[in-house]
């Protein structure tokens, strides 16, 4: 353990030396190198303290959300029309009237492209920036941020509301950086994080004693090589014994009008909880929003929510309320500049509607939305073609996206992580920073 941290602490210097070395090997003089450096905008270290990732699980249709094609043939166009927003020339789906009013905060990347069209592996690519391989289980963003921020915060550094996919886990970084899953629906009136309050009869003093007993027992049992304390235990203990931690999860402390603004459904109340958590210093919150795998009936799933709904309560209207409320709330509290908000799923959907009035998996082009945390809002980056089939301009890979997210969060993407057997793995391998995104 000690060796590993020593490894990292001098990493930056050596890397710089290496970089010069590589350049001279490519027969560039040092003068050229400085020239190049001056020409390129110097990426400033990111200033975002936290990140809220709204994960649209299953793969949201880009053609029904952020990249509509009103002029395409009807088999491509789909059921919804675009509407204007508060940014000239940027249009969103008609089911997003609230987001349309805060579009100046959004950066839409409409040219994300990936070759992976199966849920699990695509998930993994988008959430880690690495294409999955059988030999290495890469950590997801939240786990890396948790590891890089270090320290022993009372609240877990990475919280999943209400749950997460295994691909959003900590990979080779191990149990210490697994997300803490709330595992309970914030939209329920009796929402509480299970087992956070003291068990009746076991208040702080007794809990402390139990902990001492357990430490002693483990010391007796421990063999030489397993000297480390169970990090899961540490975290759980800190949570149970901290009143502040309990308050962070207590949605009943929010004013009713604030709760209402986010909408009554799970994604909305999850976003509200996410805001409470980043406000209290949690580094990374993922909001899991399932059911975007719309192979059939776009109208029902994306708009209505249930057959014959008068007011749509489907996926898009729910997201519209949740995301617009989150951005407004963060902004009113002065938190938006330090909170990066990312909205994405694992891929887009096929340009042509299928025979079930749905769309199938389509990774070749899809959209990702970013806001806050040092992102320049009110812009569109990249474009897809006439029918939303391929990127026509500025293709962006999930690896590019990963590098950008890390950079915005002030995590140096070229730093090395270490697997349990000591193998170095850079946080991001060959992504390129999406410069235009930075404010």
């Amino acid at each position: 353990m000690k060796n590993r941290s020593a490894h990292r602490s001098d990493g930056a210097t050596r890397r710089d030396l290496l970089r010069v070395g590589t350049l001279s090997a490519l027969s560039l003089s040092l003068g050229d190198w400085f020239g190049l450096r001056a020409a390129a905008p110097t990426p400033r270290p990111g200033k975002a303290k936290s990140c809220i990732l709204i994960w649209l699980d299953g793969g949201p249709s880009h053609l029904e959300t952020f990249d509509l094609k009103p002029d395409a043939p009807s088999e491509v166009r789909g059921p919804f029309r675009p509407i204007a927003t508060n940014v000239t020339g940027v249009r969103l789906c008609e089911l997003m009237p609230n987001l349309a009013r805060v579009a100046d905060k959004l950066a839409l990347v409409r040219s994300v492209t990936s070759p992976l069209g199966e849920h699990a592996i695509a998930n993994s690519y988008l959430l880690t920036g690495y294409k999955p391989t059988p030999v290495l289980d890469y950590p997801s963003f939240g786990a890396v941020v948790s590891q890089q921020r270090g320290g022993k915060p009372t609240l877990p550094a990475y919280v999943a509301v209400p749950t997460y996919k295994p691909t959003a886990g900590s990979g080779f970084l191990g149990a210490a950086h697994q997300p803490f899953a709330v595992d309970s629906d914030p939209a329920r009136p009796d929402f509480r994080v299970r087992d956070l309050d003291f068990y009746p009869g076991v208040q702080f003093g007794r809990m402390k004693r139990r902990r001492a007993f357990l430490d002693q027992l483990d010391r007796f049992q421990r063999t030489a090589e397993e000297a480390s304390v169970d990090p899961g235990f540490e975290q759980a203990y800190r949570l149970i014994t901290s009143p502040q931690a309990k308050q962070a999860f207590d949605l009943s402390r929010e004013k009713p009008e604030v709760r209402a603004r986010y909408g009554p459904r799970t994604v909305g109340q999850s976003c509200l909880l996410a805001r409470r958590l980043v406000e209290r210093g949690v580094s990374f919150v993922s909001v899991h929003n399932p059911d975007w795998d719309t192979h059939n009936n776009l109208l029902l799933n994306l708009k209505e929510g249930y057959a014959g709904a008068k007011v749509g309560v489907g996926l898009i209207p729910s997201l519209d309320l949740a995301l617009s409320a989150l951005l407004t709330d963060l902004s009113e509290r002065g938190l938006l500049d330090e909170t990066l908000v990312v909205v994405m799923g694992e891929f887009g959907r096929t340009p042509k509607l299928n025979t079930s009035a749905g769309r199938d998996h389509w990774p070749r082009v899809f959209s990702v939305v970013l806001a806050g945390g040092g992102v320049r809002g009110g812009q569109v980056i990249g474009a897809s073609d006439r029918i939303g089939e391929s990127p026509t301009d500025r293709p962006v890979t999930p690896s590019d996206l990963a590098r950008t997210i890390y950079t915005l969060l002030g995590v140096d993407p070229s730093r090395e992580l270490h697997t349990p057997d000591g193998r170095p793995v850079p946080i991001n391998q060959d992504g390129k920073l999406i410069e235009e995104l930075l404010a």
Partner: protein, 702 residues
């Protein structure tokens, strides 16, 4: 047949003949990456040009290249100006960039073929494909190894096909492969390069020992071929083994693995007192013959077979569960078990095995279920396109689904008169097919056909998938991981061992007890979980036993046993064990938090647990707290009966950890408890028991 000896006689592609489309032109396109899923191999093709994924359908590819767009892709007059060449060589704008160097062998081959009229040519079959080396141990990081590939077709000629073979390192940061097909090894360890040519995939194993110090295991005791194979790999990798586990550790481990229960204190005493050198073997036999084995392995079978309740049809589940239990009890070979499940018909509320067909919603779902459960294969990808990482085609997938197409899955399962599965590739009803093998006659129940093929002695999947599962049950890790993902591109850590276990399993009538006994008796299984600095990081070569969490149901039962406080599951009688729950949806919040498997998907893929929520529950939830404080539990009964502190502490050590406290431990608890008031004594003892049940030696199998 070994082709490498004949290599001297091999000449590469000779310029005088016409290249053969299927076997000489397609590999050029595959090697250049033209037909991958990201390019023209995508379901809709790319830029209007569609090829079959990795050349899976040569006829369609020939058609697309030669005849589509009124033949514009081919220019017979000026072959080098053909789109087929001009695009990948960069003569014309190509979104895929430069794929084939102008003037290279690949480019020349394409020119020659077009000049000769771009014929499909007569069909020739690949008889044998071989790589060199198949495996090599290399001393130093940084060494290079030239890779070669040879093929023989049915016309008899041996060809060096290295330039047309795709070599991929499964860990690109460990092995670099350059344009001239030379591998450079960058890291120590056992690495695999996959060589792909036409429909063949062959692994090449390149190993750099993990340490400098030679390891000689020739004097280590061995029980059977498992130890031979495990030692062989450890010697190559130079990883030393840990010593034998002591008797207590062995008893606890084998008791948990074979019966899902902790040994009782009396059992531990008897076992420690036994002096016979064959006492471990006798213990294994006793456990295999026990009623507890039947209960626990019924639970394991239920997970394997995904047993779960259909809405409002509990009778069906009970019938299925009862039948499974009977098979475990009677030691039915899993070949017979599989055959019965695959061919069962009748009233599913009475005929247990008929429920297997009902676990899938339709024929395609059943093809996937059968693939995962019996073949250890994930067919899903082949629904929409040929499997990119495996040999499975869309025809295989829909052909297997067609085998089950006529099945009616109501309460009464029967083979109906009609029913078909459409193959999206052809738009026609799929023909029933044994995956990767042959089409079936339509005149009889094809399920029997499929069962015949599955349970034939030489079936390459069934026995290997089964022994891999058994191995995982005993070691916490499969020889192939994940356990339901057996494929050429996901090779086993110990391929020879997997094959030997499978052959031995078939030889012994597909009897799981035989294989479990073999594994339990091996020295490898009986190793200590303690490590040495030289083998501490090993997590797949079995130089020591691996610590693993107890399955949620086993942990819940162990907690109930130690505290003598039973859990209530749904409206089942108090005292029902968690492993005996028939329906994985029986209400049991604790099991959910601990991460029990819901069996909708394979339990291997589903496993999560171990997270902070589970930890919170263990520390602060009902799971342990309620049992510790229960006035009718063992602790409070003993306190009321006037048992001494020493006695209580020692008894719980024996129940939970299968050992007595050491002197140091005894002394420690005495200082904690001496002089306590009656009220605080109760609290202190509760806290002791709580700590014991949260300690890692209790929570883990080690």
């Amino acid at each position: 047949m070994n082709l490498s000896g004949l290599l001297v006689a091999v000449v590469g592609f000779s310029s005088g003949t016409v290249p053969h489309f299927d076997s000489e032109i397609l590999p050029v396109l595959t090697r250049a990456g033209c037909n991958t899923g990201a390019c023209h191999g995508a379901a809709l093709g790319r830029g209007g040009f569609r090829l079959s994924l990795l050349g899976g359908d040569p006829a369609a590819d020939h058609e697309a290249i030669v005849y589509e767009l009124e033949g514009r892709r081919i220019n017979f007059v000026h072959p080098e100006e053909s789109l087929l060449l001009a695009k990948p060589t960069g003569e014309l704008a190509h979104k895929g960039g430069l794929r084939i160097e102008p003037g290279s062998d690949s480019a020349q081959r394409l020119v020659q073929w077009i000049a000769a009229g771009a014929p499909r040519g007569q069909l020739r079959k690949l008889i044998h494909f071989e790589v060199q080396p198949e495996a090599r141990v290399i001393e130093k990081v940084g060494s290079t190894v030239p890779l070669r590939a040879m093929a023989r077709f049915d016309h008899g000629k041996i060809e060096d096909v290295t330039p047309w073979t795709v070599f991929t390192a499964s860990d690109p940061s460990a092995i670099e492969i350059d344009d001239r097909d030379t591998a450079t090894i960058r890291r120590r360890g056992q690495h695999v390069v996959l060589a792909r040519f036409l429909d063949r995939i062959v692994p090449i194993r390149l190993t750099v020992p993990l340490t400098e110090t030679p390891v000689d295991l020739s004097r280590e005791p061995r029980s059977n071929f498992i130890d031979d194979e495990i030692y062989r790999t450890l010697e190559v990798l130079r990883v030393p083994v840990s010593p034998r586990a002591d008797d207590v550790a062995f008893l606890r481990r084998v008791r948990l693995d074979l019966t899902g229960r902790l040994p009782s204190p009396e059992e531990v005493e008897t076992f420690l007192d036994e002096r016979s050198p064959s006492k471990r073997a006798r213990l294994i036999d006793r456990l295999l013959a026990s009623e507890e084995f039947v209960e626990y392995w019924t639970y394991r079978y239920a997970q394997w077979l995904r047993l779960r309740t259909l809405p409002a049809e509990a009778e069906a589940t009970w019938a299925f569960h009862g039948w499974i239990r009977q098979q475990v009890q009677q030691r039915t070979g899993v070949d017979r078990l599989a055959r019965t499940l695959l061919t069962a018909v009748g009233d599913s509320h009475r005929e247990g095995p008929a429920n297997f067909a009902r676990l899938a919603a339709d024929a395609r779902g059943q093809a996937e279920l059968v693939g995962s459960v019996f073949l250890g294969v994930r067919f899903q990808c082949a629904n929409c396109h040929n499997h990119p990482l495996d040999r499975w085609t869309q025809d295989d997938y829909h052909g297997l689904a067609a085998v089950f197409a006529r099945l009616e899955r109501g309460r009464t399962v029967r083979v109906g008169a009609r029913g078909a599965v459409t193959n999206p590739r052809t738009g026609e009803p799929a023909l029933p097919r044994i995956p990767g093998s042959e089409y079936l006659q339509a005149d009889r129940d094809q399920r029997k056909h499929f069962a015949d093929w599955l349970t034939a002695r030489d079936n390459p999947f069934f026995a290997r998938a089964m022994v891999n599962r058994l191995w995982k049950a005993m070691f916490g890790r499969g020889l192939v991981e994940p356990e339901d993902d057996l494929r050429d591109t996901n090779p086993a850590t110990h391929p020879a061992l997997l094959n030997r276990l499978a052959a031995d399993f078939v030889e012994h009538g597909y009897d799981i007890q035989h294989t479990l006994r073999l594994i339990a008796r091996s020295e490898t299984y009986g190793r200590a979980a303690t490590t040495t600095p030289a083998n501490a990081t090993d997590d797949r070569f079995y130089s020591h036993a691996y610590r693993r969490s107890l399955p949620p149901e086993v942990l819940a039962d162990a907690l109930a046993d130690v505290t003598d406080v039973a859990d209530r599951y749904g409206d089942l009688p108090l005292g029902t064990r968690a492993v005996a729950l028939v329906d994985p949806r029986t209400p049991a919040p604790a099991l959910d938090i601990l991460g029990r498997c819901g069996r909708e998907i394979g339990c291997d893929a589903a496993s999560r647990g171990g997270g902070l929520a589970a930890k919170l529950h263990q520390l602060n939830g009902e799971l342990i707290n309620r049992k510790v404080a229960d006035p009718n539990g063992r602790l409070h009964r003993w306190i009321r009966a006037g048992k001494s502190n020493d006695d209580i502490i020692e008894s719980f050590y024996r129940l939970a950890l299968s050992r007595r406290p050491t002197d140091a431990e005894r002394k420690h608890w005495r200082t904690q408890l001496d002089g306590a008031t009656a009220a605080s004594r109760v609290e202190l003892l509760e806290d002791f028991l709580w700590a014991l049940l949260n300690s890692s030696d209790f929570l883990m199998n080690h």
